[in-house]
């Protein structure tokens, strides 16, 4: 049976043992992952292949003590997560512009599931340095439209297993998310979101004040002028270590042969007829088969380089974090009316965020007013936080579409694919977007789940409107 090596474990120079993580390329066992151990051979100057298999273990039972090697070896057993690739090659089958979570996830899926390895990922800075680094790691699927619920629920499901799939702990933590209603109009929209999700089979419920008290005992229900009337409880929502999502994908993609070029800025494209023939970068030009754009925060800027106009406006989105404290809030709590959401990281810091700034800007500067608002509203929800110190505030740039949904699909050019318009909902979509955009590029055909998200919807009013479900509840 044909198999694919997903992960190639490098052991120390002296070791005679070697391990792979493999999956079968047969349709019959799409999900089976195995660890294969064996003696390795010297070949071509490198110890790089197993010549005799000694054992096979299912993934679930392998390597329960990932830290043993650090404690037992004398020297730091470093097999680097990343190895800088050499210079850019002249040509790649697929060039992915943007080395954030999305770009790397697409690269990983192309390499791992579609066996396309001649890929390069370009980033003008360092991997995961854009919105992957700046988001507040809320992973949820409690949207309004069935199209979105389908897509994001897949992302939530994939996130739940991502640490194991990639062999990199992303500290996914199943906290649940509670969104607060302060008016009967909001309750009505909550019921809608719950109904749509329940119909699909996802557990999302409208809960009353009593239940809210049980879920978040220390939340102030009787906020002056804006008492909390009900909540939308999404028990599947996750939070995690956002940076590591990019790293995990990068590590696995690189092991499969994908080249990730950091500090390599795309400066332009050469278009001949209806095709992009060359990607111009600060490190030289590359010929390309297909191009995928995944540059959240600068989607319309990069698209403009290739002559595509996107219906996107870009705004700063800010957040802040407090000093770490012992855990006291389990779920993520958000209130659209107060423009504020609060969650506690696994380090114990409170992450507090809200809606985008009111005006367009391509600057990640912070502002005082936003911080004042966030702090005030956080204290309204949790009055005992008044004397908690703020550690840091920061900002990212979000690409907002008119309907608050992403753009995934082909463009007006034959070989240029869009993964854009990720507004405030990009991080939570990363695995699903990686999976389906990769499928789309590999098959040259838009998968059914992505069909509602094409850019053409803005020309024929087929919008996927999520306005009510995104503001201040990322």
């Amino acid at each position: 049976m044909k198999y694919l090596i997903i992960k190639n474990f490098h052991c120390s120079e002296q070791s005679v043992l070697k391990a792979y993580q493999i999956k079968f390329l047969s349709e019959k066992f799409p999900k089976i992952r195995l660890y294969v151990f064996g003696l390795r051979a010297k070949r071509g100057g490198h110890f790089d292949r197993i010549i005799r298999v000694c054992g096979i273990l299912p993934l679930e039972q392998a390597m329960p003590f990932g830290l043993l090697k650090y404690g037992l070896s004398k020297r730091y057993p470093s097999k680097p997560d990343f190895v800088a690739p050499g210079d850019l090659k002249k040509s790649y089958d697929i060039v992915i512009v943007g080395g954030g979570g999305h770009g790397l996830a697409v690269a990983y899926h192309l390499a791992c599931y579609w066996n396309i390895r001649n890929i390069c990922v370009l980033d003008k800075g360092y991997i995961g340095g854009g919105n992957t680094a700046r988001n507040t790691a809320v992973i949820r699927s409690n949207y309004i439209t069935p199209e979105s619920v389908n897509f994001y629920a897949e992302a939530v499901r994939m996130y739940g297993q991502l640490s194991n799939e990639l062999g990199y702990n992303m500290m996914m933590s199943n906290r649940g998310q509670l969104t607060l209603a302060h008016s009967d109009a909001t309750i009505r929209s909550f019921r809608m979101r719950a109904e749509v999700s329940k119909h699909r089979g996802t557990e999302i419920e409208v809960v009353d004040r009593q239940t809210i008290k049980e879920i978040v005992p220390n939340l102030e229900l009787d906020i002056h002028a804006q008492p909390i009337l009900a909540g939308l409880w999404h028990p599947d929502a996750l939070t995690g270590r956002h940076d590591s999502v990019a790293w995990g994908y990068a590590v696995c993609a690189m092991e499969l042969g994908v080249e990730v070029h950091q500090r390599t800025e795309v400066t332009g494209f050469e278009v001949v007829g209806n095709r992009v023939t060359k990607v111009k970068t600060s490190c030289g030009d590359i010929q390309c088969g297909q191009v995928v754009q995944a540059v959240a925060g600068h989607s319309s800027v990069v698209a403009k380089m290739v002559g595509i106009r996107l219906p996107i406006r870009s705004y700063p989105l800010q957040a802040m974090v407090t000093l770490p404290m012992k855990p006291f809030i389990n779920p993520m709590v958000s209130s659209t009316a107060l423009h504020c959401y609060v969650s506690q990281t696994s380090r114990g810091e409170l992450v507090i965020g809200g809606g985008p700034d009111p005006y367009e800007l391509y600057s990640t500067r912070s502002s005082l007013e936003l911080k004042e608002d966030l702090a005030g509203h956080a204290c309204e929800m949790f009055p005992f936080l008044v004397d908690v110190p703020i550690l840091r505030q920061w900002a990212g740039i979000v690409d907002m579409t008119p309907d608050y949904s992403p753009i995934m699909g082909p463009s007006e050019l034959d070989n240029y694919w869009l993964d854009a318009g990720w507004g405030t909902w990009g991080f939570k979509a990363t695995p699903a977007s990686g999976k389906y955009v990769a499928q789309m590029v590999a098959q040259q055909k838009v998968p059914e789940v992505l069909q509602p998200f094409g850019v053409e919807r803005f020309y024929d009013f087929g919008l996927v409107n999520e306005m009510g479900a995104t503001a201040a509840s990322h």
Binding site: M192, Q226, K326, G376, D387, V388, I390, R392
Partner: protein, 969 residues
Amino acid sequence: MVKRARLPGALLIDQKQPITFTFEGKTYQGYAGDTIASALAGAGQWVLSRSFKYHRPRGILTMAGQDSNTLVQLLGMPNVLADKTLITDGLQVEAQNYTGSLMNDKEAEISKVARFLPVGFYYRAFFRPKGIRNRIWEPIIRAKAGLGKVDTRHRGGYYDKAYGHYDVVVAGGGLAGMSAAISAAQHGASVLLVDENPILGGAMNYARADIKGKRLRARCAQLRQTIAESANITVMTDTVCNAWYVDHWLAVIKGCRLHKVRAKQFILAAGSLEQPAIFHNNDLPGVMMGSAAQRLMNLYGILPGKNAVVLTGNDDGYGVALELREAGAQVQIIEMRDLALAQATLHDGCVAAGLRIHYGSAIYAAKADRNMHHINGVEFGKIAGKGTIAKEHQQISCDLICMSVGYTPTYQLALQAGGKLGYDDDTAIFSIENLPKGFHLAGSLNGVFATDDVQADGQRAAAQALDGLEITHSLAADFLPVMVQVNHPWPIFEHPDDKNFVDFDEDLMVKDIRNAVKEGYNELELVKRFSTVGMGPSQGRHAALNAARLVAEATDRQVRDVGVTTARPPFSRETLGVMGGRVFSPERLTPMHHRHAELGGHAMRVGAWWRPGHYGVGVDRVAEINSEVRNVRENVGLIDVSTLGGLEILGADAAQFLNRVYTFAYLKQPIGRARYLLMTNEAGTVIDDGVACRMAEDRFYITATSSGVDRVCRQMLWLNAQWHMDINIINVTAAYGGMNLAGPNARKVLQKLVSDEVDISAEGFPYMGLREFQVAGIPAIVFRVGFVGELGYEIHVPATAAEYVWDQVLAVGQEFGIQPFGLETQRVLRLEKGHFIVGQDTDAMSTAEEINMTWAITQKKPFFIGKRSIELRNRALSKRKKVGFRLPSGITSMPQESNLVLKNNKMTGFISSVWLSPTLNAVIGFAYCAREDAQIGNHITIKCDDGTLHQAEIISPHFYDPDNARQKL
């Protein structure tokens, strides 16, 4: 209680005022002016906290609030800086992050398995097999996280905000800042001088520049005097300029007040932060910065050790040594440089004083007792090369190690402003470049260290600021400072047992930084994110320089290319309470609000308004609403509609303006008539509606939805900013109180309140008519609309008289059976009549066509907002349509708004309004369904909350009085 004598002449404490407080339940005494850390040090308690990862004992490092070693817990206040927070009588202080007791932390055992916990270890394990993380690891890891504890019963004090405007703001009241402030003020600029300490003077208060230690004190006194006499310098001490925002918008925090200050020119004179040397056990209590020891002695009168070792790589260490010696300590000096380089006045002073100096040497390890509560010795040797120490080691017993090996400029505010860091391998210090206009540097953070030069640099910065203010002056704009080498280029020494800390907050050692790079995280930002260096409470204040050096070495780059991680506000401690201030949550009450309360109205929030949903004792909400419905249908009811948006559009172009903004036609609307308003956005989606009353040729009084009026008004202003039409737009929502009198007896009630000359007969004042006359003696705008489907008068009167008119209407209406009704009742009434509500029966995609409102769209007009989109959308109609539906009244499971409409188990729409109509005795409602199913007589499937499926019949949405006979009475 432990009580020890303090040194004489301490600047900040008053030994006549003892203060008692507790730490870890034990009582201590300090003095007025003492911080928690100084008072505890004064009593011999050096351990203040346990570290984040390895739970090592930690104590005073900087004495300047720059590290998390001194974070302690007050009641309800986690993570308070013990070296910045003053003691008060009875203050209860607890240490943080330990199990058992502070002095005997059970979790310190974790140090023993440190080798199994490499940098980024949490990415490597705790997730296999699948699902184990949530079940087993997460609860354990979460319990280990965090430092302090919050008390959920804690409530804060009073916080507020103030504003300030100055020509020049100087952050930092040391020599450079004082000099800059004086020079700027002397030329007439208004100056705000901010300093985080209780008194001005900065390092002049504790450091020394001459052997006797008198020069700086004398200069400080003289400058303080000048500032006190200067009329245009405002001094704020105990105050931090915590952030710089665009255009010199500064967050200045003093106590519980946030001062939001706009400066025309900004001078940063915040000095430098002393940096640690890195050697084994460099984190334990008893190891501190040279400046920390000087602060303890001079500011608080505390001798930090009797047997001191000063590790120095610059001349400042000799000042520390002299200070310690004078205070009575035994001192030895480990000088990292060779004799030839250490030739300064202070060095000679130490030699003269007979202090032993070990040249060309460095500390290999600090020694401590087994529980590591305090260091008790030092092991050192000759420096053999960069970062390495020769094999022969010497030992000295000591209880204090002072580190004077260099500084980083306090660059945080400069980097927030977009500044970039440079680094010169010779001086081994960061410099700041690329600052925005009007942002100036002065003093040591500008790379100027000699006393006279620092003062001159303050003047130079003032000169730049005055240039920026266009004030003429004669100050020297430039001068050549003396080169002073203050940084040792590599104060980092390896040890086989590690515990040589780079980042004290996050417990990161030299090998952790190196290993992070080895793992492939070769950009500083990646090193930071992977290892968490610089992510702790001090945000890299004491770690950034050495981390940059280590990363540069490991990646074979220059330190200046590696740089530091992005500096973000805030600079130092600020709390959520200070930032939030007094939180204003606006709420709006109608003029009749108190009457509703008296009448038993159940308040509900609509936008910022409170409105009665219905009236009654509240036992059975539905019954109470239905009773109000019946009374309107049978007699007459009165509802407060003051919240309805009111806008006046005045001017020659008023009708033309409405024609552009709304979909209907207004040019020919006669004076004295009301007309329906429907608003769409650029996508042709319905976003608001209301009524336009034409009061005069050039004057409309229009209504908008309660929650939409502010948005509508803002949009109108925005549009006219582009169109420049001859109109004025005034939001008069709050100027009028409104009430709707509706029901078959409405005319009889109104008749009683108007004079006989006013003709309110069906002919004299027809449906959609508009009149201005007095109601109960109050001038009113009255128009006839039929939202609830009955004969009705909408009466708008000045808000101040609205409660009076309301009372009068209810009084004269008694004999006709009048009852007030609420918002929820109104929703039922309008549903029966078949009227939609924007927001409830429309969503972000609804077109007028979908909701059967095309009659309100005039396609003949050349332009209105949304016209083009509506034309496009009419060409390819959407897949859904809004319909009216009916279910038999006997159903057991009542559908709710937002329940889904299904077709072959797929969602095709949803219910937007539904009620068991008391008038029609049937469940009626509006729903969106698939367009092909939207014919009268068809059935649609509705899924209730409990999963029950109902087959609802589609009927005309005009459920009640389809011929409009009643509203036209």
